[in-house]
């Protein structure tokens, strides 16, 4: 028992005797641990940022888009392509809402034409949808609320940016708006969508939300739906609902697989998977750095064993067994890697804070890796340290004593 404590004391003393070298050895482990921890923390942060953006739809939201639009997978949920050969129709909306397990469904369509409030915006992003939209997208309002249902509704809702453009600083709520010669009243203004917008094309801060029925009237019934968003009820698993909606749409289209249905919480959605793979890849490189750190420990320990051959010989001469010598050097490897790993974790935590504060990457502290990385680092250090320790332990005392 006491020997164990003494080993650590001894290890500390002999490491302190060669401070610069010990520090440089530790640096290998510090960098290794830092790279592993940072890669995972940044990767996880980016992943959460992206799923956070998708999460605006809510976890149990699913989306149906024309299959042609899904060629660009990244925008499968959010992108506004609309250029596909097939677009969705009101009957598809009906099909989706009637599928068992779907609690509500809204269409998203893009309308055109300039909008005039206090100022005129010539080509705003006009999203035609219906009154159930707030049920599906959780977003708070600056003022007012979403428009009501009803065929003759002449209310619209503005994104925060376009509200500024149209009405400067005056409150837009209750003001009149002209779109294609029709008067609309502003029923509400959304707060800024806090995560970066869903995709570059679909910036909802810049969007004017108009009732789908009104928009269809104005554009003469030719308004095509580019996406249907639906919410699954809480009873069924959302993945089952996704499958149900898919099969319902396929059968409604006469067996043609021209619609892509995906859930927002799909963990193997393309962006998630990409990030996951990238994190794995860079993580693997970081693990190599960690192993290199371990090799560094082995190097320095070997030098240290050679340098202290005489000491080893003496210790053996006065009665240290092989195991006792081995433990002494293992303790050194342990202290080196443990201190290095602790430093590495502390520094990477600081780096995560720094990255959060000064870049747009919202890195997060992933406690699992912050525990696992130092444990792995210590294991690597002790593993690589055991070779020199063994070499030291097996030395013949006479031979070792002759060493000066």
């Amino acid at each position: 028992m006491s020997l164990r404590n003494d080993n650590f004391k001894l290890a500390y003393q002999s490491l302190a005797a060669v401070k610069a070298r010990s520090f440089l050895t530790m640096l290998g482990i510090v960098i290794g641990v830092m790279s592993v921890v940072l890669v995972v923390c940044i990767g996880q942060g980016i992943k959460e940022q992206i799923t956070g953006q998708l999460g605006h739809f809510g976890k149990d939201v699913l989306s149906a888009v024309p299959a042609s639009a899904s060629t660009s997978q990244f925008s499968s949920l959010t992108g506004i392509t609309g250029g596909g050969s097939t677009l969705l129709t009101s009957s598809d909306l009906q099909t989706v809402s009637n599928t068992p397990g779907v609690a509500g469904a809204v269409p998203l369509a893009v309308a055109t034409g300039s909008v005039t409030g206090d100022h005129t915006v010539t080509s705003p992003f006009i999203v035609a949808t219906n009154a159930s939209f707030p049920d599906i997208i959780n977003q708070s309002f600056q003022s007012g609320g979403f428009f009501d249902s009803g065929n003759g509704s002449r209310s619209i809702v503005l994104g925060a940016t376009i509200a500024q453009k149209l009405f400067n600083n005056s409150s837009p709520l209750g003001q009149g708006l002209t779109w294609r010669g029709q008067r609309f009243l502003v029923a509400g203004v959304y707060n800024y969508f806090n995560a970066p917008p869903f995709s570059v094309e679909a910036n909802f801060d810049d969007a004017v939300f108009v009732p789908y029925s009104a928009a269809q009237q104005i554009s003469g019934g030719s308004l095509a739906i580019y996406q249907i968003l639906a919410r699954a009820d809480n009873v069924r698993d959302s993945r089952q609902v996704v499958a149900a909606v898919r099969s319902a749409l396929i059968s409604a289209h006469g067996g043609a697989q021209d619609v892509t249905v995906a859930g927002a919480s799909d963990s193997n959605s393309a962006p998630n998977q990409t990030i996951h793979l990238l994190t794995l890849l860079v993580g693997a490189a970081a693990v190599v750095a960690l192993v290199v750190g371990g090799v560094g420990i082995m190097d320095v320990m070997l030098v240290s064993v050679t340098e202290r051959m005489h000491e080893i010989g003496l210790r053996k001469a006065i009665g240290a067994t092989n195991r006792q010598i081995m433990r002494q050097f293992m303790a050194e490897a342990f202290v080196l890697s443990a201190v290095g790993a602790t430093l590495g974790v502390a520094l990477s935590a600081a780096c995560v804070g720094f990255i959060r504060a000064y870049t747009s990457i919202q890195a997060v502290l992933v406690w699992q890796i912050m525990v696992a990385a130092p444990i792995i680092a210590i294991a690597i250090g002790v593993f690589f340290g055991s070779m020199p320790a063994l070499k030291a332990a097996r030395k013949d005392p006479i031979e070792a004593l002759r060493h000066e």
Binding site: D6, A317, I318, G319
Partner: protein
Amino acid sequence: MSLIELKDVSKLYGFGDATSVALDEVSLSIEAGECVAVMGPSGSGKSTLMNLIALLDRPTHGTYVLSGRNVSRLGANPRARYRRDKIGFIFQSFNLLPRLTALDNVALPLLYKGLSAGKRTRKAWDMLERVGLGDRAYYYPRQLSGGQVQSVAIARALVNNPQLIIADEPTGNLDSNSSRLVMELLSEIHKTGNTVIFVTHNPELTRYATRVVYMQDGTIKHDEQTKLGQVGRYARAIMYTIPESTEEDDLAGVSAIMGVLSKRGEAEDKKAKSGSRKKTTKSKRAPKK
């Protein structure tokens, strides 16, 4: 029964044509309580013999029985335990760990025995007091004189109460005063009942021994019992035939001759027990010129 029983012990180094014989079928038995001085020229196998007896090394052939147990074929770890518990070894070059204090150095064998820190300190301190260095416990080896360092090394050798003390030229790196101090310590240890074996080149120091063994070319050439305080007969013979200078000394030049002279000066010094060493050296030197 003898404490040490060596029978036809040989130690060979190297293989085939390059084999050199360090010990050639040496048989020696030493009783408990003896104080044995081992003498002989360099390369005669004294140190090899000491290493074998101290279980630092294993004989190539022959048997070694230590207090009734054949230890000639013991493995590394049991030998380490023997060294720790039964044998105290004193080196010519002291071999203290420079980073440890005198106290920690003395406590080292106790550490490997697994004693608690408190016990180690107490025992080590007692031992330092016994060698007269109680007030230097927290000094580092570099802060102590040669004689003091060797005293610390003796304390370290004694701290486990070993039956057997082996000293390989304990005074080889010390001046005459320190040598006397160290030898007095060893003889005190001997008087308390320990068995002491020491190697020396200085015939004067055989006064402390009860038995003198002379070695040459890996064999024991002469073995005599002496009385304490008496220089061995054979040793006396050697003393007066110390070559003025060897071929090596000639090659090494003046400094080596000075070494020989000062060694003779020491001998004179001890015999006369008066007058400064400087003076004796000078007087010795003058007629030579």
